[in-house]
């Protein structure tokens, strides 16, 4: 079994924390993993993406081929659309709907929503809103990770919960709990039962 994810967002939004937790869980499961990251200039408010590949067999390429990505996970709605040529025909988009507008020519939100809907399999919701509602605005990425867990076959949600526990353990039990709560809210948002 293999699953290919593209994590997307804007430099500074925290897509790498999502990758770290998935990586931790995958390592614990003895899965093979390759995860290509973006460092350097783009991190200054530019578009950033990470190709994350998980498999029970050795992985060749660090980059996902076109049409092979199972899940696009994006902290920003237009950034989700940037990687459509990589998304497989039956792949899913899990995206935050709250736009990050730091450019003058950002497209209209109605257009963005229409384009997202046109791709077919979409879970789109206001992850920032949910995180704020839980008094934890910085946990939007954990809400998104929760929604991702609902669609991820290779790693069960409980393994990702363990990942969250171990990553945030040194920040104290309260921080762990907040992030787990955010994760569960995302899981619910994506209709996981």
């Amino acid at each position: 079994m293999k699953e290919d994810l593209i994590l997307a967002g804007v430099g500074g939004q925290g897509i790498l924390s999502i990758a770290t937790i998935i990586g931790k869980a995958a390592l614990g499961q003895g899965l093979y993993l390759k995860q290509a990251e973006v460092h350097g200039m783009s991190q200054r408010g530019g578009d950033v993406q990470s190709h994350l590949r998980l498999s029970d067999k050795p992985i060749d390429s660090d980059l996902i081929p076109h049409g092979q990505c199972d899940l696009i996970v994006s902290l920003e709605p237009m950034e989700a659309l940037r990687y459509l040529p990589w998304l497989s025909k039956d792949g899913w988009i899990i995206t935050n709907t709250n736009p990050f507008v730091n450019i003058p020519d950002y497209p209209g939100m109605e257009e963005v929503k229409k384009a997202l809907a046109a791709t077919g399999n979409v879970v789109a919701f206001d992850a920032d809103g949910i995180a704020k509602g839980m008094q934890s605005p910085r946990s939007a990425n954990m809400v998104l990770l929760g929604a991702t867990a609902a669609k991820l076959g290779i790693l069960k949600p409980e393994l990702l919960r363990e990942g969250i526990r171990s990553i945030f353990a040194r920040k104290g039990e309260a921080v762990v709990e907040v992030n787990l709560k955010a994760f569960d809210a995302g899981l619910k948002e994506a209709g996981y039962e």
């Binding site: 804007v10 430099g11 990758a19 990586g23 931790k24 390592l27 093979y32 993993l33 390759k34 995860q35 290509a36 990251e37 973006v38 460092h39 350097g40 200039m41 783009s42 991190q43 200054r44 408010g45 530019g46 578009d47 992985i59 060749d60 390429s61 660090d62 980059l63 996902i64 081929p65 076109h66 049409g67 092979q68 990505c69 237009m78 950034e79 659309l81 940037r82 459509l84 040529p85 990589w86 998304l87 497989s88 025909k89 730091n102 450019i103 020519d105 950002y106 497209p107 257009e111 963005v112 384009a115 791709t119």
Partner: protein, 550 residues
């Protein structure tokens, strides 16, 4: 067995070097190489003076050097003293250290010496696509090119052993996609560091590269280079795998091998020669050509192997690759362009979305460079011929809207000297903008030229007290900038320090304008800490205060 680790390619390389018994890493930050040194610094015990090691050995040196040339020379000195040393840098750093690097092929290595340049095909964070394998070939030294994180780890010990076996520096070529990609790595036992020992009597002469010695050494190096090729032909890193379909034979170098195999989940049907060690073993290519009339070369970067094959094969053999357009001439490889080169049907995803617009990087909100550029633009209003020579760092983004302040950006330190050259050619006003870390990297000598010429230039040092673009490493000149300028001969009354904040806009504009109107060398030091490092420092301070309360 040690525990498996999830590591970036850079980190795997760093751990491989540590486990090969290095005594020091010498480097200047540069994407995508920075994480090598940072990984070594992150090991337990680092306090700015080195990493505590097992076996009760001295700590591994891992402070940043002023630039790649000083780093290379320091590492060469460590090698002279018999210790194993690592030099790492981004690819263009090889240009900065080219002099000692080329020299190191002539001196040879005593303690193992590995130079790890990280190339950046597709220029994710760079100004060109130069391929460091050419430097290895140019200097006549061997080059290792891992294709996975595990290889980056393992081949490091192979590189050090090779370096000591043949007393030769080894280039360890990385590329962005490996440097910045994570995978699971299985480490092995760590080797001890070397004891201090100087070159043996029969090798001592070559460390003094006077012509009388260098001529002898050069002849030996040419002979050795053939031996290195023999070694490459039997290297475990260069693997031939036969295949039933002889319509094409494939030479896949470094990461190119992964993109090839990605397209054949059940094994490649063609004979494949995987290359990870150079000089390119021509013998193995000839063996491939005995079976196949067409050879496809898949290599990341510039066509080194492809050109090396010219004149090697008997007539009637066709070589395909980047030069004939089978693969793109520029840019990094990916599974899709390799698929096309293999003649396989294109993989279809969703159609590209037309409403998506580019989102270029920009200076952070609240960054001092922003306030500086706003003031500079104002100060230069009315000067029709004004030209601003930029340099390498976050502040290069001053070229982009809304500032559009810069006219040039070439390489580290070029701002000052290009402004001097343009000024001596009659241009006015000529302004240079350079960061603090870039100034101490390669700007100081240019400022000395400016002073000696009494050039009519205004040098703006936008000092954020860190090497910001690469993530906030220590900057060699922090706290010393004005004194350096004064010591180089700039008149103290023309060294003006300003604090780039919105409330100081008028004062800054006036100071810059006054110095532009002064016909001689003046320096504007615009100093405010990088907001990214300031945030980190504030958080660390708060944490410390909290711990003390407890």
């Amino acid at each position: 067995m040690s525990e498996k680790l999830l590591l970036l390619g850079d980190e795997a390389l760093a751990l491989g070097a540590l486990h090969s018994g290095i005594s020091g890493v010498y480097a200047y930050p540069g994407t995508p190489s920075t994480e090598i040194t940072e990984y070594i610094q992150s090991q337990k015990g680092y306090k700015g003076r080195g990493v505590a090691r097992t076996y009760g050995e001295p700590p591994v040196h891992c402070n940043w050097s002023a630039n790649e040339k000083t780093a290379m020379e320091e590492a060469l000195g460590a090698s002279y003293a018999g210790k194993r040393a690592l030099v790492c840098m981004k690819h263009v750093g090889m240009n900065v250290c080219a002099d000692p690097f080329m020299g190191s092929a002539m001196t040879g290595a005593n303690g193992g010496l590995v130079i790890a340049p990280c190339d950046d095909p597709s220029m994710h964070s760079s100004q060109n696509e130069q391929d460091s394998r050419f430097y290895a070939q140019f200097a006549m030294v061997p080059c290792f090119e891992p294709s996975s994180q595990q290889e980056a780890y393992e081949m490091m010990s192979g590189a050090y052993d090779f370096s000591e076996k043949y007393n030769i520096p080894v280039v360890f070529r990385m590329v962005t996609r490996l440097s910045h990609s994570r995978a699971v790595v299985q480490p092995h036992e760590a080797r001890r560091q070397n004891e201090l020992h100087y070159p043996a009597a029969d090798k001592a002469r070559q460390w003094v590269t006077l012509p009388v010695n260098a001529r002898v050494r050069n002849a030996q190096l040419v002979k050795d280079y053939l031996t290195f090729e023999e070694e490459a032909a039997k290297s475990p890193y260069n693997v031939f795998t036969d295949g039933p379909d002889k319509s094409v034979g494939i030479i896949a170098c470094g990461l190119g091998y992964n993109y090839l195999m990605e397209n054949f989940k059940d094994g490649c049907p063609f004979p494949v020669l995987k290359i990870s060690q150079y000089p390119f073993p021509r013998k193995l290519a000839l063996k491939l050509a005995e079976q196949c009339r067409t050879i496809l070369v898949i290599e990341e970067g510039q066509p080194l192997v492809e050109t090396a094959l010219c004149g090697v094969f008997p007539s009637g053999i066709t070589v395909k690759g980047r030069l004939d357009g089978t693969l793109p001439r520029t840019g990094e490889l990916d599974p899709d362009c390799v698929r096309k080169a293999l003649g396989l049907p294109e993989r279809q995803g969703h159609e590209a979305c037309k409403i998506v617009v580019p989102r270029p990087p920009a200076l952070c909100q609240g960054c001092g460079h922003r306030d500086f550029y706003a003031a500079l633009n104002k100060a230069l209003e009315g000067f029709d011929g004004a030209r601003v020579f930029g340099d390498i760092g976050c502040y290069t983004l001053g070229y982009m809207p809304p500032f559009k302040s810069l006219h040039t950006c070439v390489e580290m330190g070029g701002s000052i000297t290009m402004a001097v050259g343009a000024s001596l050619s009659g241009g006015y006003p000529m302004v240079a903008v350079i960061g603090d870390s870039t100034f101490t990297h390669s700007g100081m000598t240019g400022l000395l030229d400016a002073v000696n010429e009494n050039a009519d230039v205004t040098i703006c040092i936008s000092d954020n007290e860190t090497t910001a673009m690469t993530g906030g490493q220590d900057s060699a000149g922090t706290g010393k900038i004005e004194r350096i300028c004064e010591a180089l001969g700039v008149a103290p009354e023309h060294i003006r320090t300003i604090v780039p904040l919105p409330k100081n806009a008028a004062e800054m504009e006036q100071a810059i304008r006054e110095e532009v109107e002064y016909h001689g060398v003046s320096v504007i030091v615009s100093r405010r800490e990088c907001i990214q490092t300031a945030k980190r420092h504030a958080a660390a301070k708060a944490k410390e205060a909290k711990t003390q309360q407890l």
